[in-house]
Symmetry: C2
Subunit: 256 residues, 2 copies
């Protein structure tokens, strides 16, 4: 059973301030908890219904993960999901280690993506298209927000992220001697992604939902790209645009 | 000012049952209301703040659209949006007229898309890629649901839809003499969309969020297609998949 203090602690992790203070975040729902138990994340505590625990004891017991059995009511009170009849996990956040795109690698740069749902979707898309590194501007939504974790459908266990000054990363990259990394970014006046010869290395920069790529980031875009429009919608959602751009990059890469 | 009866009537339109009974639905927020006022939809009533009305009187007055001025509080009480400081419109639903893909046209078939957010996103994507007709199975979410209208970002004014027996439509199409329309559908074992020679006519079928294309629809798919995966995510969201498929279809069409 959950103690009052445990309940209070778990509820505090709904908020970024306490996640940062405690160095911990929440993973909720059967599928996501199963995935995180099989990942390299460090688990503090699993709160589970008896049924979930019985079915998944092999995932908790060999690591000696602390497990509290709880009712569905307690689970829902503790977590953020409207309905959760399985489990939640309290998981240690990871160290914020710098990430760079290696030669032969495409990394994502998120330049002020504010919506947690969009960020979660982008994690899932990155995972589908084999993008393993995501560099986030400090103004990008917190990846440990329960909505991000939930929308990523387990993909948060397979991609790495770093939060920091992405403009500085790009500025340094632009001063590299030798082969400079390509920096792709979506603009209205870019080259058509259906015919562009994308390289295999570099960064794809995705900008803010309303304002696009920030003025301070824009000068470091070495290749402006555009998804051609055949109808009348004003724009595509940033998650959709990320998927279409990565799909085109991988198509061209595979054909090379 | 809104009368009690008006308030009650508008609130009843949150529910499908009353939308069907009344033949009316809600459009909410500044942008969507502006778009619907400029479309061929028939407007019953606009409820607007004084500020919105003043700025947009040219859109309502020449059509003699009835307008009620309301406070932000009343607007939010009447509608479904958490915050709405502009307007909502009560709009007549359209007749449910059958739609078919004409030669040279790609139409979408939604085979049991349940989530209103996904449906709204698909409307927006269809609008971006110039797809004008959407055939929906009877089990697909109601397009007049306020969440669909809102997620479509105004694209509901530029695409047409029909609800009915999509299996029968495909069955009839498959018995046509002469040139049969192509019917594309996403499966795990389909041909790679990056190298497939898509035609310019036919249907793209998108299946249910969890279960994919229904068993009764599957036999009518003439070309199974697959979005290649380069990482480990189990699946893509149906909205994302729709965008990637249409992007590949348009790319191939443009190159022909």
């Amino acid at each position: 059973m959950l103690s009052k203090n445990q309940l209070k602690y778990i509820q505090s992790l709904h908020q970024k301030k306490y996640r940062q203070q405690q160095g911990a975040f929440l993973v909720e729902g059967a599928k996501s908890v199963q995935e995180v138990l099989q990942s390299d994340f460090q688990i503090e505590l699993v709160v589970a219904t008896e049924a979930f625990y019985k079915e998944n004891a092999h995932l908790t017991d060999h690591q000696r993960t602390p497990v509290e059995i709880a009712s569905v009511g307690d689970l829902e009170r503790a977590g953020t999901l409207e309905s959760n009849n399985a489990a939640l996990a309290v998981v240690k956040t990871k160290e914020n280690r710098p990430l760079l795109a290696e030669p032969g690698e495409i990394a994502l740069i998120l330049d002020d993506i504010r919506d947690p749902g969009n960020l979660g979707t982008i994690l899932r898309i990155a995972d589908w298209y084999g993008v393993r590194k995501i560099l986030c501007s400090e103004t990008t939504a917190d990846v440990y927000n329960p909505k991000v974790i939930s929308a990523s459908k387990g993909s948060f266990t397979r991609v790495q992220w770093w939060y920091g000054d992405v403009v500085q990363v790009l500025s340094r990259a632009s001063k590299q001697t030798g082969s400079l990394p390509a920096v792709y970014g979506a603009f209205l006046d870019g080259d058509d992604v259906h015919t562009l010869a994308f390289g295999k290395s570099g960064y794809l920069v995705m900008g803010n939902e309303s304002n696009g790529i920030r003025p301070e980031t824009a000068p470091f875009i070495t290749q402006r790209v555009t998804i051609p429009r055949y109808g009348d919608a004003e724009s595509l959602n940033v998650g959709i645009a990320t998927a279409v751009l990565l799909d085109n990059i991988r198509r061209v890469n595979a054909g090379q």
